[in-house]
């Protein structure tokens, strides 16, 4: 006899549209997969050596829930250098990737607030994480001209209406658009004015060619902003799933406790690899960034040549374009997969990972 209990469970899951949102891969599945925002790159031999050495020395046991101490310190330094944010090691929780960072912050900080304001256009992982346990979500309208970032006025409106927790991406995961300093400063002042908090996804920040300031770097912000992202992107660790949460001291215990409940700790192999990545990141990253920036400029030219509208963005690893379903179908037919903007909440937009294969994809549209 069929189980009614199971049928009820399945029906409940099926009705949860947010939970069933399709997630994008963190790294390309194959060479013509342009849907990821993580780079498919080789592991530096120094990372292989350091990680192997740690494992051979017996670092195969549980470690502290928030991560090994030197990696927490290295991530704090990295955030200071790359995003101007002053964090100490004690503010850092090492996570099993940026999706775990999203989940922990949305669910645990979110539990302290009646509602959370979320951009109508954001990474699908945000919606998915929100679907696990019901939260009241206030939509923050996306400003198309601004690369789908919510305008400061929209944020002010949500705060004025009583919402006290914001979830923001900068750079936006769809377009790579980042808030200008004056806008970030304005958001910071709003947080202070309303005694509100923000979860700030800055995972794509290392790909901004030029100055980038985290929301956490502004004078009013340190106790009001929790930053999340991937640790040391571009070092071949995308599928090792290593991310971070950088949170004000008061918010660390609840997330640390939930991390313990969910996973005890993050893979030691991944943590020791990330620790070595921290030491060589600057050298490798500068080369990658210069290369990607040039490649992105070339792609913009190509896109315009095939009459595709380029959406504003400043992260060198992604390029968003306005594109019809026919264009998506043509790309698929040519063997290319792209990130469909509809998954982010922006139909008729596609996102390409910046790569040589993306040039091939645009050439295929000629």
């Amino acid at each position: 006899m069929a189980s009614q209990t199971k049928a009820d469970i399945l029906a409940g899951h099926d009705a949860n549209e947010a939970l069933n949102t399709q997630l994008l891969p963190p790294v390309a599945r194959r060479s013509r997969d342009l849907s990821a925002d993580g780079l498919r790159s080789f592991l530096d031999e120094r990372i292989i050596a350091a990680s192997s050495e740690a494992l051979e020395a017996g670092q195969t046991h549980y470690v502290d829930v928030p991560g090994i101490a030197p990696l927490r310190a290295a991530i704090a330094n990295y955030l200071g250098a790359s995003a101007g944010a002053s964090y100490e090691a004690g503010n850092i929780i090492v996570t099993a990737g940026v999706q775990e960072s999203r989940f922990l912050t949305i669910q645990m900080i979110g539990a302290e607030f009646e509602s959370i304001a979320v951009p109508t256009v954001a990474h699908p992982g945000v919606r998915k994480a929100l679907g696990v346990r019901e939260r009241t979500v206030i939509p923050l309208a996306a400003d198309v001209e601004g690369g789908y970032l919510p305008a400061v006025d929209a944020i002010a409106g949500a705060l004025a209406a009583g919402c006290r927790l914001l979830y923001l991406e900068s750079p936006a995961r769809l377009s790579g658009a980042a808030y200008a300093d004056e806008d970030a400063a304005a958001i910071s002042r709003l947080l202070n004015e309303y005694d509100a908090m923000a979860i700030w996804d800055q995972g794509l920040a290392p790909w901004v060619d030029g100055k980038y300031n985290s929301l956490a770097s502004f004078e009013e912000s340190p106790s009001l902003v929790t930053s999340i992202g991937e640790a040391f992107p571009g070092m071949g660790l995308a599928s090792w799933h290593i991310g971070y949460i950088a949170a004000p001291e008061a918010h660390v215990p609840a997330m640390q406790s939930q991390k313990q409940i969910m996973a005890i700790c993050t893979s030691t192999a991944a943590q020791y690899a990330a620790l070595e990545a921290s030491a060589i990141f600057a050298e490798a990253h500068n080369r990658q960034l210069a290369h990607l920036s040039q490649l992105r400029s070339d792609l913009i030219e190509l896109a315009r040549a095939v009459n595709l509208e380029v959406i504003a963005g400043s992260a060198a690893n992604v390029l968003a374009l306005r594109a019809s379903q026919d264009t998506i179908a043509n790309l698929n037919q040519a063997g290319f997969e792209v990130a469909d903007g509809a998954l982010f909440g922006a139909p008729a937009v596609i996102r390409l990972s910046v790569s040589a294969a993306a040039a091939d994809a645009l050439q295929a549209l000629r």
Binding site: I9, Y62, W240, H241
Partner: protein, 385 residues
């Protein structure tokens, strides 16, 4: 203002933190085997790094690992699963546990839990908004999960039955007869079964482990978790899995994607090596645990301490009611006075303040020393010192 007393998981972490202060501490608390991961598994991980096996992995895990898990659960547990649709790889048994609870329990739903039990089930249930309905088990009965007591606990809100065998912390193993009866009850009352098999390779004497999913009518209503942490000494790699019917596993996959996206590819490569490579290290470790269990039980007998016979697992749940103190206080005094870490029963269940959980995951000479120190601590406590 007095400091709030730590409870449950927080109490355990407070003790772990204090234990780090002592250079000569003997750890008989945490379930972390003292053996390092076998060398051939570490070597395989290194080879995977060298050969750049760091590409995309789907949320449910690498196909080769899911195949290895399917083969393992068939071989060890007699559960037939399709690796393509009925296996999800997780960040250790802990994430598997969290996912199982979230997949099945909604706010207000009741889960029947034989007590004492692993504290994270209560934490996960609280996150899901579910309600724990406790069925007590007793040392005099070797912590048997009595089917009649389970049946009596069922209400119209009951949705799931948790079966952890061997149990943590009580180390009891559900007999095949009881397992069949418990599954019959679950079928009769249309309950889902959450089965935790993480200690299935550690069963002692003539006791026998049986997975409910292996029984007729079991698989379609059972989610079964396991992990490589205990059997292969791979706690730091964070690699576990859930197997179950395809319809439910599709939902588990969505939850896994929502919570953490995927599992670290290097741990998965190590997992493939563990499950498909030589198994002699597992047998070596199992043999060591058998010897250590005997050693601990003999020491407790010599101290006149009562316990439920550990039929499986890697620990003993011992009665300390003779001290007249709460287990949290006893654990604290053992740690601060004798530098021996054992876990208080109160961290596992509010009704087990008279128990301590001691693991035998230390080399024998350390265990002997730890038990000697524990004896001194108990003597001091009972003498009122």
């Amino acid at each position: 203002m007095s400091k709030k007393k730590a409870e449950g998981t927080n109490l355990l972490y407070q003790l772990i933190g204090e234990a780090r202060q002592y250079d000569d501490v003997i750890v008989m608390g945490r379930g972390d085997p003292d053996f390092d991961t076998p060398a051939h598994i570490v070597a395989a991980a290194k080879q995977a790094m060298i050969h750049h096996h760091s590409d995309y992995t789907p949320p449910e895990g690498l196909p080769a690992l899911r195949q290895a898990i399917a083969d393992r659960v068939k071989r060890v547990n007699n559960i037939d699963v399709d690796p393509a649709t009925e296996v999800v790889v997780t960040n250790g048994g802990q994430e598997a546990l969290f996912l199982m609870v979230l997949a099945v329990l909604s706010p207000g739903d009741e889960m029947i839990v034989p007590e004492p039990n692993y504290n994270t089930y209560a934490d996960s249930l609280a996150f899901a908004g579910g309600v724990k309905v406790e069925v007590q088990t007793y040392a005099d009965d070797d912590f048997r999960a009595d089917p009649a007591a389970v049946r009596a606990a069922i209400t119209d809100k009951s949705r799931a039955l948790l079966l952890v065998s061997p149990n943590n912390p009580a180390a009891s193993v559900i007999s095949p007869g009881d397992m069949k009866t418990l599954l019959d009850i679950a079928i009769e009352h249309d309950l889902m079964v959450l089965a935790d098999d993480i200690y299935d390779l550690f069963v002692y004497d003539d006791f026998e482990h049986l997975s409910p999913a292996a029984l007729p009518g079991g698989k379609e209503r059972t989610l079964t978790l396991n992990a490589l942490s205990k059997a292969y000494s791979m706690t730091g790699w964070r690699l576990g899995w859930i197997v179950g019917p395809a319809d439910l596993m599709a939902r588990v996959t969505e939850l896994k994607a929502a919570i953490s996206g995927g599992t670290s590819v290097i741990s998965q490569q190590a997992g493939i090596a563990a499950l498909t490579g030589p198994q002699d290290a597992v047998e070596m470790m199992a043999a060591a645990y058998r010897r250590r269990r005997r050693l601990v039980l003999d020491a407790l007998d010599a101290m006149g301490m009562k316990y439920g016979l550990p039929q499986g697992g890697q620990f003993v749940f011992a009665d300390i009611s003779f001290t007249g103190l709460d287990s949290g206080e006893v654990a604290q005094r053992m740690l601060s006075e004798q530098h021996v870490l054992a876990y208080p029963g109160s961290a596992f269940s509010k009704d087990r303040k008279d128990y301590l959980r001691m693991t035998f995951l230390q080399p024998e000479e350390q265990l002997i020393e730890g038990l000697e120190r524990m004896k001194v601590a108990m003597q001091n406590i009972t003498a009122g010192r």
